[in-house]
């Protein structure tokens, strides 16, 4: 009896909800806009997710962040002989804004030279993605990831002065 009652009740509740004055989608979607459309887009339509060959001389790998902080970004760049970044890949353990920041970073470094890529600022990333103040650190980590990848690439280009040089 309770089963039938509860079922009927749920249908009654459904009827009430469905027939309530056309609950405008916007009423509910307003809070959902905490995720900016651009941030969501980087997850729904991922670009440059993946890995390059870490051992290759032309690939620089930057790994920044820490799992204990909830943010880890791996950004890899492939550079041609002329010093131009021809490909970039990323993988991120982090919130939506972190994923979007690192994804955007890979988009921006492509086609730039190694020197030009150093000029990418976290404030530009944050502005492009409309990141709220509480998420600014995600863009900072993305900038760090770019710099770490470039530093790793530079290290690989240095003529081997002997293994003592290595960290």
């Amino acid at each position: 009896m309770a089963v039938a009652g509860a079922g009927r009740l749920r249908r009654a509740a459904s009827a009430l909800l469905l027939q309530s004055p056309r609950l405008p989608a916007r009423e509910l979607s307003a809070p959902a806009r905490l995720y900016h459309k651009k941030v969501v887009d980087h997850y729904e339509n991922p670009r440059n997710v993946g890995s390059l060959d870490k051992t290759s001389k032309n690939v620089g790998t930057g790994l920044v962040g820490a799992p204990a902080c909830g943010d880890v970004m791996k950004l890899q760049i492939q550079v041609d002989e002329k010093g131009k970044i021809v490909d970039a890949r990323f993988k991120t353990f982090g919130c939506g804004s972190a994923i979007a920041s690192s994804s955007l970073a890979t988009e921006w470094v492509k086609g730039k030279t190694v020197e030009e890529a150093l000029t990418i600022k976290n404030t530009d990333i944050a502005k492009e993605l409309c990141l709220p103040p509480v998420k600014l650190h995600c863009s900072m980590l993305a900038e760090d990831a770019i710099k770490a990848a470039l530093a790793d690439y530079k290290l690989k280009q240095e003529p081997k002065k002997g293994d003592a040089e290595k960290k």
Partner: protein, 406 residues
Amino acid sequence: MLLRAGWRRAALFVTVAPGPRPTVPSRGLRLSVVDDAPQSAVPTDAAAAPEAEVGLRPLYMDVQATTPLDPRVLDAMLPYLINYYGNPHSRTHAYGWESEAAMEHARQQVASLIGADPREIIFTSGATESNNIAIKELEAAIQPDTSLVSVMTVNNEIGVKQPIAEIGQICSSRKVYFHTDAAQAVGKIPLDVNDMKIDLMSISGHKIYGPKGVGAIYIRRRPRVRVEPLQSGGGQERGMRSGTVPTPLVVGLGAACEVAQQEMEYDHKRISKLADQLIQKIMKSLPNVVMNGDPEQHYPGCINLSFAYVEGESLLMALKDVALSSGSACTSASLEPSYVLRAIGTDEDLAHSSIRFGIGRFTTEEEVDYTVEKCVQHVKRLREMSPLWEMVQDGIDLKSIKWTQH
């Protein structure tokens, strides 16, 4: 049943409606509402201009945060919002008398749910106010060495049930006051203030399918527990909480308690079954999933799972058509991960990967199945995007890496 004839007829009318509606299969799942309203409550931001506004209302899986009103509760409240609007403290006319009668009836309903005497129930604005009154009582204690123990009955983040009866036993033998915040437990698990030797208990309306803005505090009379009022005024509620008691809200709270008492066993069985389904299906489809909290002493409707190598907030963003909550730092304003998870010794990276699934009285099996399916799909996808997952697949021990602290 609280359903009145008219309501019942309306419900019947719905159930005999011809055929399934093609555009709206079931509550919450595919409620397509075309938004054609020109004005908006939200300041229009050009950058955030909405696309074709076929809004999907998300499934609600966050019952620990708040619950929808049970229709039977609304049914009980409506007369007091429309016709019977008297002040329950007015002694001189029928409006006051009928409101007072309703208030006392509601008090009886709340008391009977927890095995208390109605004289021991004081209405407040919610469990937070009740907690404040209870803790402040400590300062009003007469003996200098009196102390108070305060324990949550059911934790709102991981669903763990505390051994209330045992704690009550210890407190009463040591002559120490025992307060419990039962906001997540009242109406969901059997509670008896006398069996469990509880001296003070906080109750919240909107956690048990009642209205928001109302709660109650249970204050033991034998032996008498003295409390200091937080707000002073006209001396209502035996001087312990001045202010006109909001009749419609307390009627709602009373009705919610009575409905909870009727439905407790059935709800518990149904929710346990759905919870088991959810956990089994997820654990079967995904490796490296940890359930936080004691598996035995656990209220089934609150499931907290950590999906290793996937960050909680990114999963919430991916599961955009399900309303969920996470213990991750990214979801809190302070960027601190859940203190509850930290207290139970969860690894910090797992604390960032936790999601809380709430199953309640109105959660359907289809909603649970849909949630599980989407969750599995997106966890797999996010793991493909995760450098930690990649490292683990390559056989690297994450604990051996020296991370750059940011």
